[in-house]
C-alpha cells in the first residue's frame, strides 16, 4: 500500500490509536481501521489538521464522542515533549473515560503519568442495610423508605415480572388488515388475474407501536431513600420498553445508555459512576428547563409519555418550574408525576414546587411502594391514543386542570 511506503511506522501506530479509541468507548473495529488507512492515502500527512479531521470523520459517529476523540488524539499523537509528563500541555491533561486499570496500562505504554489518562471518579454506592424478610403482599405495600436491602432485591424481582406493557399508538406505517384504507397495490396485483376487474379490495390500516417512555427522576437529598428503588424500577422498564431515562438533583444527567447493561448491578454501578450529584440539592425547574432545551426535541417524538418522579421539594423559583412544565406538557403526549410522599398518611401537596406543578400534570400518582408502582403500570397500559379522553384514576389522585392543554 502506498501509505505504508510513505510512513512505514504509521500503520502499527494507527492500529494502536484505534485500540485506544476502542478502550475509551468508541467503535473502532477493523472496518474503521481499514477506512482510516485508506483515507490517509489521500491526504497530506504533514498537515496535522487534515490528519486529525480525517481520523475524526472515520472514527467518530456521534457528537458526544467528539471530545473523547479529541482528547485521545491529543494524548496519542502529540509530539514527545518533556513538559507533557508534567501535565502542563493543556491538550494532554484532558482525560478519557476508561477503567483505572486500562488507563494505567495506556499511560505506561505511552510514557505518561497516570493522572493524564484518568478521569477523576469516586465510585458511589447506594446505601445498603441489614437483611430482613417480608411476605410478598406485605412487601407490596411496604414503603420503600423502610425497606431493607434484601427486600429491595425482592422488589426488583416483582418489578421485573410485572405484567403490564405501555399503551400503543398508531404509527404512520400501514399493514394488511380486514378493515381500513384500500390497499391499491395488492388489489391491483390481484385484479390482473381477473382481467383488470377489481374483484377483491384489499385493505390496510395503521400499524400500532408502544409509546416511548421518558423518565425524569429526582435523585436529590430528599429523595435519597427512594433513589435505589427508582433506579431498579427504571432498569426493569428499560429492559423491555423504549425508555429514555434522566436523573437530576442540581443538574440533569442522561442515564439511558448507562441503564443498558442487562445485569442490574452493573447498570446501577455505571449509573452511580456516571451521575455526579446524587443526593445534592434540587432545582426541578432548572432540570426541566435543561431537558426542554437540550433533550425534548430529541426524545419526545412519536407520542412519548413523560414521567417525572420527585417529591416536589424545590429550592428554585416556582414560577420557573411552572413555565417549564407548561412547555414540557405541550411536547409530550402525557405528563405523569409520581410522588413517593403521596403515599404517606395525610400528605397534602403543599411544598411550593408541588403546588406549582400540580395544575400542569395530566396525572399525579403515588410511588412509595410496589402496589403504587403497579397502579402506575396499569395506567401506562391503559393510556388511550387520544390525549383528551383520560381514564378516571382510582385512589387519591388529583388530576390537573384542563387549562393550557393542547388537543391532539
Amino acid at each position: 500500500m502506498p501509505e505504508a511506503a510513505a510512513a512505514p511506522d504509521l500503520l502499527p501506530r494507527l492500529g494502536a490509536f484505534a485500540r485506544l479509541l476502542h478502550d475509551a468507548g468508541l467503535e473502532a473495529g477493523p472496518r474503521r481501521l481499514t477506512d482510516a488507512t485508506r483515507a490517509l492515502a489521500f491526504i497530506d500527512l504533514k498537515r496535522e489538521d487534515d490528519f486529525r479531521n480525517s481520523l475524526r470523520s472515520v472514527f467518530v459517529s456521534r457528537k458526544e464522542d467528539i471530545p473523547i476523540f479529541e482528547a485521545a488524539f491529543d494524548i496519542f499523537w502529540a509530539p514527545p515533549d518533556p513538559r507533557a509528563s508534567a501535565g502542563v500541555i493543556p491538550g494532554r491533561s484532558r482525560a478519557l473515560p476508561m477503567s483505572p486499570e486500562r488507563a494505567k496500562a495506556w499511560a505506561n505504554a505511552l510514557g505518561l503519568n497516570r493522572s493524564q489518562m484518568q478521569r477523576e471518579q469516586e465510585p458511589k454506592e447506594f446505601p445498603a442495610s441489614s437483611s430482613g424478610y417480608s411476605a410478598e403482599e406485605l412487601l407490596r405495600h411496604k414503603d420503600f423508605e423502610q425497606m431493607t436491602w434484601a427486600e429491595t432485591e425482592q422488589v426488583r424481582r416483582l418489578l421485573e415480572q410485572a405484567p403490564w406493557r405501555v399503551a400503543e399508538r398508531r404509527t404512520r406505517r400501514l399493514r394488511p388488515s380486514r378493515a381500513g384504507r384500500i390497499d391499491l397495490r395488492r388489489s391491483a396485483r390481484h385484479a390482473i388475474r381477473s382481467s383488470g376487474e377489481l374483484m377483491t379490495l384489499f385493505r390496510r390500516k395503521p400499524r400500532v407501536r408502544r409509546r416511548p417512555l421518558v423518565l425524569i427522576s429526582d435523585v436529590s437529598g430528599s429523595m435519597e431513600r427512594y433513589s435505589r428503588l427508582l433506579m431498579i424500577f427504571a432498569h426493569a422498564i428499560a429492559r423491555r420498553e423504549d425508555l429514555e431515562a434522566f436523573v437530576f438533583s442540581t443538574r440533569l444527567t442522561r442515564i439511558t445508555r448507562l441503564l443498558r447493561h442487562r445485569d442490574l448491578d452493573r447498570a446501577l454501578e455505571s449509573v452511580s459512576k456516571g451521575v455526579h450529584d446524587f443526593s445534592g440539592g434540587t432545582r426541578i425547574g432548572d432540570a426541566l428547563g435543561d431537558f426542554n432545551r437540550k433533550w425534548a426535541r430529541r426524545v419526545l417524538g412519536h407520542g412519548a409519555v413523560v414521567i417525572i418522579v420527585s417529591d416536589g421539594w424545590d429550592r428554585g423559583d416556582p414560577a420557573h418550574l411552572t413555565a417549564e412544565l407548561i412547555h414540557l406538557r405541550r411536547s409530550a403526549h402525557r405528563l405523569i408525576w409520581l410522588n413517593p410522599l403521596l403515599g404517606s398518611e395525610g400528605y397534602e401537596p403543599l411544598t411550593r414546587g408541588m403546588a406549582a406543578a400540580l395544575p400542569h400534570c395530566d396525572d399525579f400518582l403515588a410511588a412509595h411502594n410496589v402496589a403504587a408502582l403497579e397502579d402506575f403500570g396499569r395506567l401506562l397500559a391503559s393510556l388511550d391514543s387520544r390525549k383528551d379522553s383520560l381514564p378516571r384514576l382510582a385512589g387519591k389522585v388529583t388530576r390537573g386542570e384542563a387549562a393550557g392543554r393542547m388537543g391532539t
Partner: protein, 299 residues
C-alpha cells in the same frame, strides 16, 4: 466537471459557490468522494447541512436527487411504486383480457415492465445513466423510523435494489450519498458505521459574517456584521430554540429589505421573529434587546 483532486480544491469550489465551510468539512467531503462512502452530516437545525449537499452537486456537475424523510416513509415512496391506475387501464384496453395461461403470463410481464414503474428517488439514484454519478441527498433521516433505516442500511452496503417483478437492479456507478440528521433522535449505529461522519457546529462570528456577506449580499457590510453578532449573542442565551445560520440570513435579508443599513432597538424588536420561533423566547429576548443591540454594535 472532474472530481476535486485535493482538499484545497474542494474548499475552493465550495467557496466559489458561496458556501462557507471550514476545512474539516472539506476534508470529510473529499474523503467521502475518494473512499466512495456516504457522508453523514449532523448538526443543529439551520447550520447548512442540506445546503452542503446541494452545493456538492453543483461542485461535481452532478444531478441532485433528494429524498425528504418523514415518519412512515416506505419503499413505495422512497424506491418505486407500480402505476396501478395505468396498469388497470392497460388491462382493460387489452380487450377481453388474457384467458389462457400463456396469455396471462405475457400480460403480466407487460404490465410489470419499466413502462409502468414509478421511479422514486432511491431507485433513480441507483439506476442512473448520468455522465457524472448523481448526488443523493437523504434529508433529515431522523424523521424516518427504524424500519426505513434498516432498509437504507441494506441499500447503502451494496447499492442495489430488488424489485420482485423485474429483478435486481445494481448501480452502474455509485452515487455520492449525503445523509443529514437534526438529531431529533439517535440514528442507529449500524447505519452510521457505513458512513463518514461530520458534525457541523454553529460558525464563529467572523465566519458567520462571511456567510451573511456571501449568501445575503443585499445586506450592507456593517449590517451583516451587526446581525451576525446579534445572533451570536442570542446563541449564548437560554432559549428553547437557538437561531441557526438560516435564521441569521433571514434576519439580515429582512432588515435589508426594510432599507436599513444598521440596526437599532426598535428595528430589532420588529424583525426578531425572523430568528426566534417560540413565543417564550421572544418574550425573554424582548426585555434585553437594547443591551443585545449595543453589544452587537461593539462587536
Amino acid at each position: 466537471m472532474s472530481a476535486p483532486a485535493t482538499i484545497e480544491e474542494v474548499e475552493r469550489r465550495l467557496r466559489e459557490r458561496r458556501y462557507i465551510g471550514d476545512r474539516s468539512l472539506a476534508t470529510s467531503i473529499f474523503l467521502a468522494l475518494k473512499l466512495q462512502k456516504p457522508l453523514f452530516i449532523e448538526g443543529e437545525a439551520g447550520v447548512g447541512k442540506t445546503e452542503a449537499a446541494k452545493v456538492m452537486a453543483d461542485v461535481l456537475g452532478a444531478r441532485l436527487i433528494r429524498l425528504q424523510c418523514y415518519e412512515g416513509i416506505d419503499l413505495a415512496h422512497a424506491v418505486y411504486e407500480w402505476n396501478y391506475p395505468r396498469q388497470l387501464l392497460h388491462i382493460r384496453l387489452m380487450g377481453e383480457g388474457p384467458n389462457s395461461q400463456t396469455d396471462r403470463r405475457a400480460a403480466e410481464r407487460e404490465i410489470f415492465s419499466s413502462e409502468f414503474l414509478l421511479r422514486r428517488p432511491l431507485l433513480d439514484a441507483i439506476d442512473n445513466d448520468d455522465a457524472t454519478p448523481p448526488v443523493l441527498l437523504i434529508d433529515e433521516i431522523d424523521r424516518s423510523d427504524e424500519e426505513f433505516e434498516a432498509f437504507l442500511l441494506e441499500l447503502l452496503s451494496d447499492f442495489q435494489v430488488s424489485i420482485p417483478e423485474i429483478g435486481t437492479i445494481k448501480a452502474k456507478q455509485v452515487p455520492f450519498v449525503v445523509i443529514t440528521s437534526n438529531r431529533t433522535r439517535e440514528v442507529h449505529d449500524a447505519l452510521k458505521r457505513r458512513c463518514l461522519y461530520h458534525w457541523i457546529d454553529y460558525p464563529d462570528l467572523d465566519k458567520e459574517v462571511e456567510i451573511v456577506r456571501a449568501r445575503a449580499p443585499e445586506a450592507a457590510d456593517g449590517l451583516a456584521r451587526e446581525v451576525a453578532a446579534l445572533v451570536q449573542g442570542l446563541r449564548g442565551m437560554d432559549l428553547y430554540k437557538v437561531p441557526g445560520v438560516a435564521e441569521t440570513l433571514d434576519w439580515a435579508r429582512s432588515i435589508a429589505a426594510l432599507g436599513a443599513t444598521s440596526i437599532d432597538a426598535s428595528l430589532v424588536s420588529a424583525t426578531m421573529g425572523a430568528a426566534l420561533k417560540y413565543q417564550e423566547d421572544l418574550e425573554r429576548v424582548r426585555e434585553q434587546v437594547p443591551a443585545l443591540v449595543e453589544k452587537a454594535q461593539r462587536a
